[in-house]
Symmetry: C2
Subunit: 220 residues, 2 copies
Amino acid sequence: MLLDTETHANGSSEESLSRAERRDIQIKRILEAAKTCFVRSGFQGASMHQICAEVGMSPGALYRYFPSKEAIIAAIAEADRKHDAEMFALIEQAPSIFEGIIACAMAHIRHTHLDGNAAMFTEIRAESMRNELVRDTCLQCMMDVENDFRVHLERAIEAGEIDPVVPLESLLGILMSIGEGIAINDLPSRNITFDEIETALRVSLGALLRPRDNAIATRT
Amino acid sequence: MLLDTETHANGSSEESLSRAERRDIQIKRILEAAKTCFVRSGFQGASMHQICAEVGMSPGALYRYFPSKEAIIAAIAEADRKHDAEMFALIEQAPSIFEGIIACAMAHIRHTHLDGNAAMFTEIRAESMRNELVRDTCLQCMMDVENDFRVHLERAIEAGEIDPVVPLESLLGILMSIGEGIAINDLPSRNITFDEIETALRVSLGALLRPRDNAIATRT
DNA sequence: TCTCAAAGAGCGAACGTTCATTCTCAAATT
DNA sequence: AATTTGAGAATGAACGTTCGCTCTTTGAGA
């Protein structure tokens, strides 16, 4: 019986992958391992050797996939912020702008609560204060999200659906800040329930936005 | 003409300082220079040689004042958090708990807006996720502040001065998070005025706390 | 008031280590 | 045969820290 070269074999778990597919898998493995290391030691604190050890790969091999440590950092920062941006697209599907904002905020908070996401998030923010590449990535994503929000908020204001207590631009900044503050502090890890957070958000954002029909609180 | 040894001379600008005083001055200079470097490059990114260059001091000299780089980081983190804690003592002097909280939050936001304070703050937070010394310092200060707040809030709740929509512990976490979120995002640098921020805070925290007499907004 | 040993402050070269990255070469895949 | 993938030793730079040294300040005894 001749063993097929895996190119056109089948049945087993990891065969018949094209070069490009194998490459993608390796890249994903590297990014995942790097994230683990970065959460543990920070961008500057984690060494390439540690990342190599975590992937189970030699430096020579790793450098075939990423040209530098900074490239890995940039890739991670970009992936993380892209994920955030996609999450904020939730606002599209909501029945009202108020519900949309609450949904976005809660999704963000739930996601940041997972794994080392709060630490990674904090690290990215800190790095963005000095690393130009990371800063640009963050700024770009933030702008995308804010632009999205701006359009929706503007439309809702004109339609009389909400009547915010501060001008649009200030409102944008404040909404983002509140969401981010609760997210990075990872309140659920301090035994504050998602329900309580949602209640607080509904009440405070409700007061800020003043939606027409006052269906704000889920409970008193 | 004999030049006086500065010990008992006078008239010039920097004379007749005791050893201890000179030492304190040098320590302050080092901390200041280190802060500049840390804001520029992060805790891990800034090297001792860079700090030496910034102070205008050799490594040998610098190590007479601090036994290690981590000791400098710890000193900076502690000073920063202590300053925050002192600021939060503003709550004592306010006419009501609501006004006290608003005053604390605004003071915090104003302070974070100065110099590189937002960057430093972010860096300290990131470092506290992995450096035990920094974590303990942060936790200790946060606990001090929260304990202070807890006492006041509890008293105000029992007196019927406020009627928060969420339980005390959750309220504490949420208030802190909102303040911190606005602070580290440094909204004033994005042309959002202090007045607008204060209005937003009054409205949203007002809705959260529900103070008895509804004198919340400074303006509509 | 003067002298002098002790202590403190500062310098800058040098230490051993670790870093990100590169090089050379072998194995595997096409 | 040609190309891709991988290993792992090697590279030079940079790191935090220490060392041996000089110069200055200090304070007690003469």
